[in-house]
Symmetry: C2
């Protein structure tokens, strides 16, 4: 089988080019400043994993190509919009190794550019001409925003592990879930298949986010594009830290101090080294592997007559292998 030897990125290359073009076409700018901001945001070429997942899921089911491209562009613009507001709220100055909008622009413009991307994403979602897809799109936006509010204002979950996985689902799992399921809504696939794709997407998104959090500890600053352990330095507890204190309860107190902003910089450095060198990072990676294992099991129950089946498995493997 020739198709089976294609990597997933070869299989979606022409589709992704159409998605890139659609994103830029759907965001015409009346102001030169807005145009420059959109160039920066849409030209920074992230990994485009969400559009890739949309294209592969749609290909697996034979969904209409034009509506699939609209959907993939909608999801990537929605993702970009949430990053713009997220960076503004965090005060982050770097994203993917490049200055963020709010590093260059005043806050008001950054708020509005995020809003502009939300509205253009909603227009593209409406262009799919699927009510179910529109409903899922709006519901996913609510999940993401509610997750960010919980992160800022505090969630009801006092247990750190529960709070972590709620946040990971809201931040990443929910949009991957949408990316995998919405093509099935467009194609009008039967509900059982829709649910399996939804579960595949959610598990893949959670694995992706865990690996992101692992790379924040294990990666080199130059590769990740931000300082090492930046989450911890910002008082955000991720899975490597959770695994570390579960295995080393004596360090839990230091994490408590960190959460209260009372840990000295020197002690913070010691804690980061301990997490990097202990089994915390490896244990977190093992949990990500578990989520990818669930993806592969679900894939075994999905239609396997198209090359996208193999490519979805390759995509799941890639999520574990990536180093940035």
């Amino acid at each position: 089988m020739e198709a089976a030897t294609l990597t997933f990125s070869d299989l979606v290359a022409s589709g992704l080019a159409a998605v890139e073009a659609r994103m830029r076409e759907a965001t015409p700018a009346e102001n030169p400043e807005l145009d420059a901001a959109l160039d920066q945001l849409l030209g920074s070429r992230g990994k485009r994993l969400r559009p890739t997942l949309v294209l592969l899921s749609a290909g697996l089911l034979g969904a209409d190509q034009a509506r699939t491209v609209d959907l993939a562009a909608a999801i990537e613009l929605l993702h970009t919009a949430t990053l713009v507001h997220d960076d503004l709220i965090d005060g982050s100055l770097l994203r993917r190794g490049h200055p963020t909008l709010n590093a260059r622009w005043e806050g008001g413009a950054t708020v509005l550019i995020g809003d502009y991307l939300f509205s253009r994403a909603a227009e593209l979602a409406a262009a799919t001409q699927s009510l179910r897809c529109m409903e899922s799109f709006a519901g996913t936006l609510t999940t993401i925003v509610q997750g960010e509010l919980n992160q800022l204002l505090g969630s009801n979950s006092t247990d750190l592990r529960t709070a972590y996985f709620e946040r990971v689902y809201a931040k990443t799992g929910s949009l991957f879930e949408l990316a995998a399921e919405a093509p099935a809504q467009i194609a009008g696939t039967r509900p059982a298949t829709q649910r399996k794709l939804r579960d595949f997407g959610r598990n893949l998104g959670i694995a992706f986010q865990i690996v992101d959090d692992v790379l924040d500890f294990a990666g080199q600053a130059e590769e990740v594009g931000k300082p090492v352990a930046s989450d911890l330095r910002n008082g955000l507890i991720t899975l490597p830290t959770l695994c570390h204190i579960e295995a080393n309860p004596s360090d839990a107190e230091e994490v408590d101090l960190l959460l209260r902003g009372e840990l000295s910089d020197q002690a913070q450095g010691r804690l980061i080294t301990a997490i990097r060198n202990s089994g915390g990072v490896a244990a977190a990676r093992a949990e990500a592997e578990g989520y990818v294992g669930t993806c592969l099991a679900l894939l075994g129950e999905l239609p396997s007559d198209r090359p996208e089946h193999q490519a979805l498995g390759d995509l799941a493997g890639y999520v574990l292998q990536r180093t940035q």
Copy 2:
């Protein structure tokens, strides 16, 4: 005819109560702080003119009641979301005489609460189960945000009058347009009637915004809920000022200085008094009357067999009469 003696507010009272309940039900809060913010935002009871227009337009056409309530709640939540971000960008500390969210909250939370209202509004719009209505909803959000971006970054229109009416359409005309037209999309009314309602809404919204701008000059601070001539003080040129300098070209230079931030406070006070006392305010009000006249002419071409026909005319009259 008993119904004809009802005022428009009597006719929509029970519908508006359902809309209020729907708005609160559609915005459940997981955090006590979010809950308090939503109480403040949704409990401040603005005039609810947009939901009133939705209910009257739907009543005129016999649109489904439950979907109409979803639509009206979606439009008012969208309006509230834009106000939240708008106040944050302006740094406004008062709205309707009450402290704005950003007067009490940090910027990050205000951004996210606006986003939360956008997403809940989108979910309600999807609940109308009308693709056309969803498309209009998303397109209107784009118009509003693009208008705000033009205001912040500068628009292509160098002519002050053109720029003013573009801004008024984006800020207010477009959402009134949606409020009048979308019920016709839900009801599946024929296109000619949809267009007339759309035009009615747009003209009503423009009249409403002009009166708002007139009241900013002519009203008392206590009634309007913000300082007199706050727009001008913030460097924003509205119709009373435009009419004033069109009739008194010698004052155009002072307005130029104001726009460049080079007019002294004393000279600013003199200019405000001149606009209040000259024919500028009256001329602007006369233009608003012209837009309401267009509304009444359009109403004459719309179905007249229900009490909502009379009530839409009363609503147009109310827009001119209001003092706050």
